[in-house]
């Protein structure tokens, strides 16, 4: 199915938290990792999955790679219902 990777990306609690964090401003991978108790490789793996689903995109700025939100209304609605179901 076309939307499979979107549902997969949004089914994880930590990934939904990353989206919530990026809602306020763009962040580097380090900034995002400092909000979690997970290891940096795990965060990087989460970011990779989100990037594949086109929910975030990254841009290189000097030495840092910054992550920006790239959600659609559909992503927001799915993530909202996932939050309710999987609480």
């Amino acid at each position: 199915m076309v939307g499979d990777h979107i549902f997969k990306a949004l089914s994880d609690k930590n990934r939904r938290k990353i989206i919530e964090l990026l809602q306020t401003k763009e962040m580097t991978a380090g900034d995002i990792a400092s909000n979690f108790e997970l290891s940096k490789p795990t965060i990087s793996e989460h970011l990779k999955v989100l990037k594949k689903a086109d929910i975030i995109y990254s841009e290189k700025e000097g030495n840092f790679v910054k992550y920006y939100l790239n959600t659609t209304v559909f992503h927001e609605v799915v993530s909202f219902f996932m939050n309710i179901i999987k609480k």
Partner: protein, 192 residues
């Protein structure tokens, strides 16, 4: 310059489509049966040309990509809408317009910030822009769904249903962005 080259074909499609669509809908034109396929063919060819140009230049900015995407949707929808006007069915046109609003509203939160726009307060900061366009996208999708439903169940049979449904949305978004800006200004003053 590369952007202009890439967008040239797509723009050409719209520039031909819009007047032809208005012309066909408003006047009872005798060459209708010839003109509609011709205009559709031009639109599709121009879109394919634009796609080809897009594939050659791989590195694109997010802003250009978004504009390009919106133009693509417009061309496709205008191409679909033109043959449909033959049937003169209000329901089909409403469902098509509703579908367009759903697709367009869906990608609205992705709109990159520009220096100008019809929302003068949303331009002022990235945070306000994102919040405003998120709401704008949601409301546009909602109006699209309502329009599709009105296509199936003909409750309100007004010609100007899109204007009736959509103008409050734009007004509401405008007011919302103004209040967000006012709130941010207040916080800025406090931090000083």
């Amino acid at each position: 310059m590369k952007t202009i080259k890439r967008l040239k074909w797509a723009f050409l499609g719209i520039m031909i489509q819009i007047p032809v669509t208005i012309w066909i809908v408003s006047a009872d034109f005798t060459f209708k049966n010839f003109l509609i396929p011709a205009a559709s063919a031009i639109a599709i060819i121009s879109m394919l040309k634009a796609n080809k140009a897009n594939a050659i230049i791989k590195k694109t900015e997010k802003k250009e990509e978004f504009i390009y995407y919106v133009i693509n949707i417009l061309v496709v929808y205008l191409t679909i809408l033109q043959p449909i006007t033959i049937f003169k069915s209000v329901a089909i046109v409403r469902i098509c317009l509703g579908g367009f609003l759903i697709i367009f509203g869906n990608i609205l939160p992705r709109a990159p910030r520009s220096t100008s726009g019809f929302l003068p307060f949303a331009v002022k900061s990235e945070k306000i822009w994102r919040k405003t366009y998120k709401l704008f996208g949601f409301l546009t999708v909602l109006v699209g769904i309502i329009l599709v439903l009105f296509g199936f169940f003909n409750i309100i049979s007004s010609k100007y249903i899109v204007i009736i449904l959509y103008s409050p949305v734009i007004l509401f978004v405008e007011i919302y962005s103004y209040f967000l800006w006012k709130k941010e200004k207040k916080l800025d003053l406090r931090s000083l």
